[in-house]
């Protein structure tokens, strides 16, 4: 077969030439129109928890990373990532992370089925928001956890499940992003320091009979805890007791005197470093 090699050479030359010209144009364009990206943004983005949960207050992890590098957001702003992420971001940014004590979301209600009395049987749309608007909610206590799982739906870390009519938190999975706290129509969830083990788990503002009738574990504002506390850490206001975690020594004396069992000690006494 007679192959005319010259045709192959033409093709190679033509395509090679085109390639070289395009390459040159692209190279010039790359130099001329280069967008300067601070490489720290990419690294901060990689260090974030990456759930796009929005707990930092910025539109997703990308928004947060850009804000950190710009200096708008604190380096420990990624609550979902916790201390490790804060340290990693601080290293990238060349600053100290500061201390961010581990925090965790806890339910300030013990109104499970059988403890909080039922007002009516709710079989409507499965949403706490909806049920809370219906005649004071399905439970007698108008301050209780409704237990239809609005918090469970927004939790990106699978840390919440509904058991026996109330939300149960898995503290190993919880990153304290606070989405559940924002979502709960009853404001029954609080993000607290992880070592705040002594908690008043009731927010019933009613005093006396209405509170007693609503739930066997309702705070009746009797102030026994307030009288018992030697550290001025627990106070009754607005009809229920609440603890100032900075003053509380986690001694648990208040839990012992509470006649309604609404103060709980989680995991016994902890060592405060």
């Amino acid at each position: 077969m007679n192959i005319q090699w010259i045709h192959v050479v033409y093709a190679l030359l033509a395509l090679g030439g085109l390639g070289a010209v395009f390459g040159l144009v692209l190279d010039i364009a790359d130099k001329k129109f280069a967008v300067e990206v601070d490489e720290r943004v990419t690294r901060v983005r990689a260090a974030c928890a990456g759930a796009n949960c929005g707990a930092c207050g910025y539109p997703g992890c990308d928004g947060f990373a850009a804000a950190v590098v710009k200096g708008d957001a604190p380096v420990n702003g990624c609550t979902a990532g916790g201390a490790k992420t804060a340290a990693a971001i601080a290293e990238i940014m060349g600053v100290s992370a500061g201390s961010s004590e581990p925090r965790v979301a806890r339910l300030l209600c013990q109104g499970a089925v059988g403890i909080a009395k039922e007002r009516y049987h709710y079989d409507g749309y499965k949403s706490c928001q909806m049920a809370s608007q219906m005649v004071g909610g399905p439970k007698m206590c108008p301050y209780s956890c409704i237990g239809l799982g609005d918090c469970m739906d927004v939790c990106k870390f699978d840390a919440i499940r509904i058991e026996n009519g109330i939300a149960v938190f898995d503290e190993n999975k919880c990153v304290a992003c606070g989405m559940c706290e924002k979502t709960c129509p009853r404001h029954a969830i609080a993000v607290v320091p992880k070592d705040a083990t002594v908690l008043v788990r009731c927010q019933n503002s009613d005093i006396g009979r209405p509170a007693v009738e609503a739930c066997t574990h309702a705070c009746i504002a009797c102030k026994r805890c307030e009288k018992t506390c030697q550290y001025d850490a627990i106070h009754v206001s607005n009809g229920f007791a609440s603890i100032d975690t900075s003053k509380c020594t986690r001694c648990g004396e208040c839990a012992k005197v509470c006649p309604r069992g609404c103060i709980t000690v989680i995991g016994g006494q902890v060592e405060v470093a």
């Binding site: 007002r119 009516y120 079989d123 409507g124 749309y125 928001q129 909806m130 005649v135 004071g136």
Partner: protein, 443 residues
């Protein structure tokens, strides 16, 4: 030709409509031993402020709570007797409502009333103050204070008042019986509202399934200036504000607008009758017609005092026919609110009490959407209910808002027609509440 709007549903007459149970029953007055009168029956920033205390003797029609704010209306004692309690009671709201409980002494002793006389000759500027003093709010369900509705803002161009006698809601016949038994009062009320606002055109719109009421009202309206009777096609939600404006005048209320933007004021016929009583006799709103129906021994239309407990009203109808009711609904079955027990009070807005048995009350299980688009066909607001439901379930409220979720009138036609029994209206209502809460917070 009968007037109507696009969309809507026809609840099955035998199965779901429930009208024949009470449509031929004359209104019976009933007075209970005790009334518990909520002070937040109307839409306002704050409930009315109680001015009586425990142990006081009150006369019928006496002001027991005074108006708060420009939209506030006073509340009057609906019986004569002794005040038993002033305190918070759980009504249908999310939180307890301030209520005044009065024990009836059955004297029915009235306070002295001062009417303005004839609606055609009285001082037109005195009509709106008389309406406010009588404590009248919209009796169709929403409870918007009537004096605020009739007080037009500067520059508003309103040329039509429509009286809503459609009563498209299932089971209820309260407005039907009122138009049949007291048509002159209804027309008087319309004339009073027209004179107070200076509007020339008044329409009384009635669905064609109430032929007797149309005849009665037409007769009463003969010779009255500017009053027309319009026959509407019987369809749900014909009685919704925007739909009745479209049907009667052909105008559309703009998205997010008020009836005023279409040059209309819409009032319920019950409200009109109350307005007539307030203007002619100076009589405050202390009683209303309520249809008590469903699984009760004698379904009836009762003339109930405001504050009557549901249990007493049901007792006046012979009690339940079932051992334990499945649901008691305040209002009709399409838009009513489920009452958790029988201790709820009849308010100025309670048009009906419907008792359902367990089987009727059971919620249907949802199945997946089959894209049949029936919800789109029936939506009277021209929305895409199936799409909104999906967006709400995915928690994409921003897109839902762009798809005009806030224009939904919560008529639940979509949920009624859906062959997959999807809870479309519930999803939308829930999302709207969340959006409204966010807007309030300013997010």
């Amino acid at each position: 030709m009968m007037k109507s709007f696009r969309g809507g549903v026809h609840p099955l007459p035998g199965l779901h409509q429930g009208k024949p149970l009470t449509d031929s029953k004359p209104v019976k007055p009933y007075v209970s031993e005790m009334v518990c009168i909520p002070l937040n029956m109307h839409i306002a920033a704050a409930p009315s402020k109680p001015i009586v205390k425990k142990g006081d003797r009150v006369l019928m029609g006496q002001v027991i709570a005074e108006a708060v704010g420009p939209r506030g209306i006073p509340v009057h004692a609906s019986v004569s007797g002794t005040v038993k309690e002033v305190g918070n009671v759980q009504q249908l709201g999310a939180r307890t409502s301030p209520c005044i409980t009065i024990e009836n002494d059955f004297q029915d002793e009235w306070v002295e009333l001062h009417g303005l006389g004839n609606v055609e000759n009285c001082d037109a500027s005195a009509i709106i103050p008389a309406i406010q003093a009588a404590g009248i709010c919209g009796m169709g369900g929403a409870g918007f204070p009537t004096h605020a509705k009739l007080t037009l803002p500067e520059g508003a161009k309103v040329d039509t008042i429509i009286l809503n006698g459609a009563e498209c809601e299932t089971y209820l016949n309260a407005d039907h019986r009122l138009m049949l038994e007291n048509p002159v009062r209804v027309v008087d009320g319309l004339r009073a509202a027209m004179r107070a606002t200076g509007v020339e055109n008044g329409y009384i719109a009635i669905e064609d399934n109430k032929r007797d009421a149309i005849a009665a009202v037409t007769k009463a309206a003969t010779g009255r200036k500017g009053v027309h009777v319009v026959t509407l096609k019987a369809k749900y939600p014909q009685g919704a504000e925007k739909q009745i404006i479209k049907a009667v005048t052909g105008r559309e209320v703009p998205s997010g607008g008020l009836p005023m933007n279409a040059g209309c004021i819409v009032m319920n016929v019950g409200t009109a009758a109350a307005v007539a009583q307030a203007v002619i006799d100076g009589r405050p709103l202390v009683e209303r017609i309520t249809t008590v129906t469903g699984r009760v021994r004698e379904p009836s239309n009762l003339l109930l005092r405001v504050g009557t407990i549901f249990l007493d009203a049901i007792g006046a109808c012979g009690g339940y026919t079932v051992e334990e009711p499945g649901k008691i609904i305040a209002g009709g079955t399409m838009t009513g609110i489920c009452a958790p027990n029988e201790t709820i009070s009849v308010t100025k807005t309670t048009g009906g009490i419907v008792v359902l048995n367990k089987q009727e009350a059971t919620s249907m299980e949802e199945s997946p959407c089959i894209r049949c688009s029936r919800c789109v066909e029936v939506c009277p607001m021209h929305l895409n209910p199936y799409k909104l439901k999906n967006l709400c379930d995915m928690n994409d409220l921003e897109t839902a808002r762009k798809n005009n979720i806030m224009d939904c009138i919560l008529c639940s036609s979509c949920s009624y027609i859906c062959p997959s029994r999807r809870w479309i209206m519930s999803s939308i209502k829930n999302a709207r509440e969340i959006i409204a809460a966010q807007q309030k917070k300013g997010v």
